[in-house]
């Protein structure tokens, strides 16, 4: 046996002995994925190298950092920042733009009172933000940094998602138990759908034909048929007691990942059969959830353990934890440049 082969065997044995990361997840790591994690109590954003599984930078944003999204090209990270009072609009309330490479704040964009979650148009030129106190959803032109429209939605709007085909913006409203369907081009509300109680987040399937909505108090995931504007089914998660918040759909549309805040677990839902495939223990109070580009890795922001969980999407197992700031809320993942 050659020295080279013996060394390879030793390396493989070492991997088996420590229960290390599966090979396919390792290959995902080699893609140099960077997670941007908002921390609502420490008012900052942790930048996590998912390869090294460590925080490589912390960016102060000057307020309560919650919703976070990456631009379609992955070059800019947008963070919803607000002050301590949901009913007072102040200079703190803004969408902060961060250059993903330099990790510097490049813009602070007015976005109405108390922006909590946001979505980006497919061309990356507009931001859609939910203004919780005002009961509106605001569309902002990023280039000119100005509000171009505001639509009345339900009370306590929170979750926002833009459909991949560019046609729709869906906004959940926690008190009204509604999802408002906004035409992305005209900014008009074309319909409203009644869903389970306290809807928090919404995500589209890649073909834009389905939308998935979590209901925190209802403890469920609701599937909406976008074309018919109707609820197809509502799937209870964690026996209705998991308080689901974050939701993300895999790039191929086959799986829906839901962060159950109270249960401390992630539900993996078969999108076609609308049934739970697996539940994955993660940190405490996972809210934000994001799927890495390529789909091999899923990350949750765990608010009560001040860390993120890194999940291997194929094995559906947690493969690591990384401590971040205080009360992590949301997460967005881009490839390093």
């Amino acid at each position: 046996m050659s020295t080279r082969i013996r060394a390879a065997i030793v390396r493989v044995a070492a991997l088996v002995m420590v229960g290390a990361v599966p090979a396919h997840a390792q290959s995902a790591h080699s893609a140099s994925l960077i997670a941007f994690v908002t921390n609502e109590a420490s008012n900052d954003v942790s930048v996590v190298d998912l390869d090294a599984r460590k925080v490589v930078a912390t960016i102060a944003v000057g307020g309560r950092a919650r919703g976070v999204q990456a631009s379609p090209d992955g070059r800019t990270i947008y963070v919803a920042v607000s002050d301590a009072s949901p009913t007072v609009e102040s200079s703190v309330d803004a969408i902060v733009a961060i250059d993903a490479a330099s990790r510097r704040i490049t813009a602070r964009i007015e976005a109405g009172s108390d922006p909590e979650q946001l979505a980006l148009s497919v061309d990356g030129k507009r931001i859609f933000a939910a203004n919780e106190d005002a009961g509106t959803a605001t569309a902002i032109e990023i280039g000119r940094r100005r509000t171009i429209s505001s639509a009345v939605v339900g009370i306590e709007p929170e979750g926002v998602a833009a459909s991949p085909d560019g046609r729709w913006v869906f906004v959940t409203a926690e008190t009204s138990n509604s999802v408002s369907m906004i035409d992305a081009r005209t900014a008009k509300v074309l319909g409203n759908v009644l869903v389970d109680i306290r809807p928090r987040a919404v995500a589209f399937s890649p073909d834009s034909r389905r939308a998935y909505v979590t209901a925190e108090i209802g403890g469920s995931l609701t599937l909406i048929d976008v074309r018919t504007r109707a609820v197809v089914t509502t799937l209870p998660l964690e026996n209705g007691a998991g308080k689901p918040v974050g939701v993300a759909v895999s790039p191929d549309g086959s799986r829906v990942w839901v962060a159950n805040g109270a249960a401390g677990r992630v539900s993996v839902v078969d999108a076609r059969a609308t049934r739970v495939l697996a539940t994955i223990p993660v940190g405490r109070r996972p809210w934000g959830i994001a799927i890495a580009p390529g789909g091999a890795m899923v990350v949750t922001a765990n608010g009560m353990t001040n860390d993120i969980s890194v999940i291997d999407a194929k094995t559906m197992r947690e493969i690591g934890r990384v401590p971040v700031g205080m009360r992590p809320w949301g997460v967005a993942i881009v490839r390093a440049r």
Binding site: D133, V153, S176, S178, N192, R198, I217
Partner: protein
Amino acid sequence: MPLIPLAYLVAALLAPPAADTLRLTLVVDDTTRQRSLVHGAVLGVEEAAHTGALFGVVVQLRVATAANSSGAARAYHQSAGSPPTSIAIVAGPADVCAGLGAAAAHDSTIVFDAGCAPSWSPRPANVFSLVSLPTASTGDDSTHLELWHWTLDRFGAEQLNQRYARRFGERMDSPAWAGWAAVKIALDLALHAHAAGAARLRRQLDAPRQQFDGQKGRPLYFAPGTRRLVQPLYRVAGSGDAARVVAEVAP
């Protein structure tokens, strides 16, 4: 001059003309302790009008005061019209509640008890209670139970407290929550029933898995046997600015 206006009508003007109308009647005795309940109901109907407009439902609230049983029945009948009352909400002494309850039972109208005296008994089968505070002493005189508290801050409680404080310049207390929740539950029923008539709302109330959100972090529902709202309560210590919730009492 009465503390509460004899009639207080709020209508959702933005709703489409062909909309269903959820017509609510609130009858209370004319005392200071009902003021926050009325305020809560007014906030509730303003928010219900907002939500209702999204789904083509108009929400109206009429508030009336009554000093006794016959006054309550008269107030209920005076509020009758077209469309008829969908749900009646009542709070006050037992005779006021009994008068309203009997009048509404005659029309099979649902009644929400948002703060009736525990001595109101027997209660007709059309009465559902949002107030589930136990009357027996817990043996701990330093604390007391509340339906709601202005210091609650989770699951939308902070936002609700701030909306109320901004609207009325005062802290949201238990009667205010009961008034707000009565209206919200009424609208939730109408939206799920796709109708605002009393009969359809009653069927929806009896539907299995019909749950409501009261910004308390748990789904609320009416117990089939007692028709009381099953909900978390809050054990509160201290008073005034020093008051604080020391424990949530699970339903």
